[in-house]
C-alpha cells in the first residue's frame, strides 16, 4: 500500500497503526514507565526520544513482546492486541532491531533469518528470500556469510532483513546509528524514508536530535517514564525537544564550552609512538606505521569508523598490548577507561573497595592495605560524586553513571601522567555525561595527557584540543573541523 505523499514529503496521516495507551511498568520500586502513551501512523517515520533511562527501550520492548506491561493497552489497527512474546509481535507484523544485536554469531546469515520462523525448514528458499529482500531494499547481504565475521553495519542490515523476512510492517530500531559511520548512518536513515513511503512504519529510538529531525515525521518524547511531548517534526524545534527531554531543571549541553585555546606545545611528550604496528587478538595486523606524540595537558581526540584500528591504538597507548613493530615510549602508569565497562572495567560482584583495589593489582606484592584503601575509596566517592552507601557496597547496585564516575575516578586517582578513554559517555544520561566530560577536562587542566576515542564524532569535537583520525590502520592528525575529520575517517 502506498500512501499519498504531500508535496513537502510529509505523508498524510490516516488512522493510527499502533497505539500504546497508559503503559506502566515497574521494576522493584523503580517506575520505569508511568502511564506512557505512544501513537504511530502507517507510512510514518517516528522518533522516540528521551534521556537514557527515560523508558524508551522499555516501552518499545513492550511493543515487541520482550517485556510485559503491568498496566495499559496496546492497539494495532484499532483493535486491542496481547503481546506475550516476540513471536506474537512478529505475527502481528512488528519487528525490532535491538541496540545489542540479537544474532547467533556461529551461524550463517541464512540460518539467522530462518531462525524462529515456522513451517518446513528450507534454507535454499530462505537464501532466495534474503537475496530478494536485500536487492529490493538496497541492503546488500551475503546469505552464506557467517555472522561472527561480518562488520557491524552488515549485522544491522541482517537484523533489518530478518524483520522484513517476517513481513514486518512496523519496524522498531533502537539507537540504530550508534554503531555506524556517518555514511552508513545516512544510508540507513534514507532507507527508513523509502520504507515509510511504501506504507511501512518505522520507530527510531534515539538521543541524537539533529540526525533524527531530518528524517522523522512524528516525534514522541519520554521523560522519567511519562510521555511529555507528542508532535509533528515540522511543528517543533530542537530547543523545544531538548526542553521536553530534560524538563525545566534540565542542564544546558555544554558541548562547545571549555575548549582550550592555548595548546601545550612546549610541554613534554608523555605518550610517544614511533612507527608502531599492532595485531588484534587473532593476530591480524590492524595498525601500522603509527607515529604519535601526546603531551601533558592536552586532550587528543581519536576519530574513526568501526574497526579502523582505533581499538588497538588505544590499547597500545594504554600499555595494554605491546607493539609488533616500532617503539612505544610510555610512562609507568596510565589510566585506562575501556568502552565495555561491565566487561573490562568493573567487577560487578565485588565491592567498591575491591574495585578500587583492582587498579595495579597486577603489580602489588605482599598484603592488601585494606585500611588505607578504604580511606581512599571514601575520598574517591566524595570527590567524584559516586552515589553509594559506603565502600563495602557491591558495584552491581550502582547506576551506569555512578559506575563510570567511579571508574574515571579510580583511573585518575594519584594523578597518573596519562589517561586513555574509550567511548566514555556511551549509555549515560545527560547529567552523567556532563560530569564525565568535566572530569576529563579537569584532568587535562591538571596536566594529564588525555586520549579520548568516541564513536560519536560530536563528542570528539567537543572534547579534543587536537584530533587524530585512524583509517585503514593508519594514523594521522587532522585539523579541528567536522567536515575534514568526517572525510578523513572514510580514508579521503
Amino acid at each position: 500500500m502506498v500512501l499519498p505523499a504531500r508535496a513537502d514529503g510529509i505523508v498524510t496521516l490516516g488512522a493510527p497503526r499502533l497505539v500504546l495507551r497508559d503503559i506502566s511498568r515497574q521494576y522493584g520500586t523503580l517506575q520505569a514507565l508511568d502511564r506512557a502513551s505512544f501513537t504511530v501512523a502507517p507510512g510514518e517515520v517516528h522518533a522516540l526520544l528521551g534521556e537514557n533511562g527515560a523508558g524508551k527501550s522499555t516501552l518499545m520492548k513492550i511493543a515487541f513482546g520482550l517485556e510485559r506491561a503491568d498496566a495499559g493497552t496496546i492497539m494495532l489497527d484499532g483493535a486491542p492486541i496481547t503481546l506475550r512474546s516476540p513471536k506474537d509481535a512478529m505475527r502481528a507484523g512488528i519487528g525490532m532491531v535491538q541496540q545489542h544485536f540479537a544474532l547467533v554469531d556461529a551461524m550463517t546469515v541464512t540460518e539467522n533469518v530462518a531462525l524462529g520462523s515456522e513451517g518446513r525448514l528450507d534454507l535454499a528458499e530462505t537464501d532466495t528470500l534474503i537475496r530478494r529482500i536485500a536487492d529490493d531494499a538496497g541492503l546488500p547481504l551475503d546469505p552464506a556469510a557467517v555472522v561472527g565475521e561480518l562488520p557491524l553495519g552488515a549485522r544491522q542490515r541482517l537484523e533489518i532483513v530478518k524483520a522484513l523476512a517476517r513481513k514486518a510492517q512496523i519496524l522498531i530500531l533502537d539507537e540504530p546509528t550508534a554503531v555506524l559511520s556517518p555514511t552508513e548512518s545516512r544510508e540507513l536513515l534514507s532507507w527508513t524514508r523509502r520504507f515509510a513511503e511504501r506504507g511501512g512504519t518505522v520507530i527510531l529510538i534515539a538521543h541524537k536530535l539533529r540526525e533524527i529531525l531530518g528524517v522523522a515525521d512524528g516525534i514522541t518524547v519520554l521523560r522519567r517514564g511519562r510521555t511529555v511531548l507528542e508532535t509533528r517534526a515540522h511543528d517543533t524545534s530542537e530547543d523545544e525537544i531538548a526542553q521536553a527531554m530534560l524538563g525545566s531543571a534540565g542542564v544546558a549541553d555544554g558541548r562547545h564550552t571549555n575548549r582550550r585555546v592555548a595548546m601545550a606545545y612546549d610541554a613534554a611528550p608523555i605518550l610517544e609512538l614511533r612507527d608502531v604496528a599492532a595485531d588484534d587478538e587473532r593476530g591480524v595486523e590492524r595498525l601500522h606505521g603509527a607515529t604519535l606524540s601526546i603531551r601533558a595537558g592536552e586532550i587528543v581526540g581519536v576519530a574513526a569508523i568501526e574497526g579502523a584500528g582505533q581499538f588497538e591504538l588505544l590499547r597500545l597507548l594504554a600499555g595494554r598490548i605491546t607493539p609488533t613493530r616500532g617503539t612505544a615510549t610510555l610512562p609507568e602508569r596510565i589510566g585506562f577507561v575501556p568502552e565495555d565497562r561491565l566487561r573490562d572495567a568493573v567487577v560487578l560482584d565485588a565491592t567498591l573497595l575491591e574495585n578500587l583495589a583492582l587498579r595495579s593489582a597486577g603489580q602489588r606484592q605482599g598484603l592488601m592495605p585494606w585500611n588505607s584503601l578504604r580511606q581512599a575509596a571514601i575520598v574517591l566517592m566524595r570527590v567524584r560524586d559516586v552515589r553509594a552507601a559506603d565502600p563495602a557496597a557491591p558495584m552491581r547496585g550502582l547506576s551506569g553513571g555512578n559506575q563510570q564516575k567511579f571508574v574515571i575516578g579510580r583511573e585518575l586517582d594519584g594523578n597518573p601522567p596519562a589517561l586513555v578513554v574509550e567511548n566514555p559517555t556511551r549509555g549515560l544520561d545527560i547529567r552523567a555525561t556532563q560530569d564525565v566530560r568535566n572530569a576529563l577536562r579537569a584532568a587535562r587542566d591538571d596536566g594529564t595527557a588525555v586520549v579520548v576515542y568516541s564513536s560519536d564524532l560530536d563528542e570528539v569535537l567537543a572534547l579534543a584540543d587536537r584530533i587524530v583520525v585512524v583509517a585503514g590502520g593508519a594514523v594521522r592528525e587532522v585539523p579541528h573541523d567536522r567536515d575534514v575529520v568526517g572525510r578523513a575517517m572514510l580514508g579521503a
Binding site: 521494576y27 523503580l30 527501550s57 561491565l342 566487561r343 567487577v347 575491591e354 606484592q365 598484603l367
Partner: protein
Amino acid sequence: MLTMARRMVRPLLELLLAATLAVAVLAALLAGSGYPVGHSLGALWHGAFSSSSVIASGTLLRATPLLFTGLAVAIAFRAGVLNIGAEGQLLLGASAATAVALAVPPTFGAGGAVLALTAGIIAGAGWALIPAILRLRFGVLEVISTIMLNSVALNLTGLLVRGPLQETTRTFPQSALIQQALRLPRLIPGTRLHVGFALALLLALGLGWYLRSTASGFRLRMTGANPHAAASAGEIDVRRVTMMAFIASGALAGLGGAVEVTGVTYALYENLSPGYGYTALAVALLARLNPVSAIGSAVVFGALEAGASAMQRDAQVPAGMVGVVEACVILMLLASEWVGARLAQRTSLNRGAPPRRMEEDADHQSPNAATPALPPTP
C-alpha cells in the same frame, strides 16, 4: 565489629540449617522406605557424635579428606576454574604417596612421611596441570577434561594395585602396607584421628587469610569474578593466575589423597575414595567457597558419612541413603540460593539503592556465569 560478628554467625546458621535439612530428609527417606526412624537416627547419632572418641575417630576422620578436597574445589572455583577433577587428583596423590612410602628405607622415619606427602602434592598438582594446559593452550573446557581425567585416574590406580604396586603375594588388588615409621602420628591418642586433620585445619585457616589479605589472593578472586576486568583494569596476568589455581587445587586434593593413605588406610586400594572429590563440591558449595567455612561443612558431611556407617551396621540402613541425603542438601542449597537472590533484590530495592539498569544489563552474561554466586568480601 557488628559486620565481623555477622560474618562469623551467618555461616554457622547456614551450617545448622543444612544439617537440620539433612536430618529431615533422612528421616523422611527412612520413614518412606520402612526403616524405624528413631532407631536409625539414634544409630546415626551414635556413629557421629555419641562420644569424643567417636567424634574424633568417626566424624573428624571422615571430614579430613572432605576438607582437603573441599578446599581444592573452593580455591579453584574462586579463581573461575571449574575443577571437577578433585577425585582424580586425590587418587593420583594417594598413588604417588604410596609409591614413595613403599620405596623409602625405614631409616628415613618422619622424613619419609614428609617425602610421601610431598609426592602426593606433586602428583595431584601434576594431574591438574593437564586440564590447565588443555584449557589455556587449547581452549578445552576443564569441566569436561577433568571428568575424563577422573576416569583415567581411577583406571590408573586399578592398574597400579594390580601391577607395579601390588602387594607381594599378588592376590589382592591393593598395595603392601606402608611401614609403621612412615604412618602419620595420631593427633589424639587412643583415637584414629591423625595429624592430617590438623594440617587440613591449618590449610583452611591459611587459605582464608590468603584470599582475604594477600595481594595474590585478591588477584585470584578478581580473576574468578571477572577475568576481563582483572586483566584490563587490574593488569593481572590472568593466565598465570588461572594456571596457579589449577596447580594449587590439584596440590590440595593430591595432599588429601596422600594423607588418606599415610593416615588411615596405610595402603592403596582401587576404591580408596568413596567419591570424596564429588562430595567436595557439596562441601565447597555449602561453605559458599569460603575456606574457613569449609571446615564446618566438611564436619557436617563427615558426620553424615560416619553416622551412615553406623546406621548400616546397627540398623541395616543402606549406606547409599547418605548419597541421597547429600544430593538433596545440595539441591536444596541451590534452590535456596535462588530464593536468596530474589530476597536480596527486594531488600536492596527497599533500601532505595538504584536497581540494575535494564538497558545495560539486557545482554550481559555475567562473566563468572558458570560459578556459583560469590559472597562479597572482605
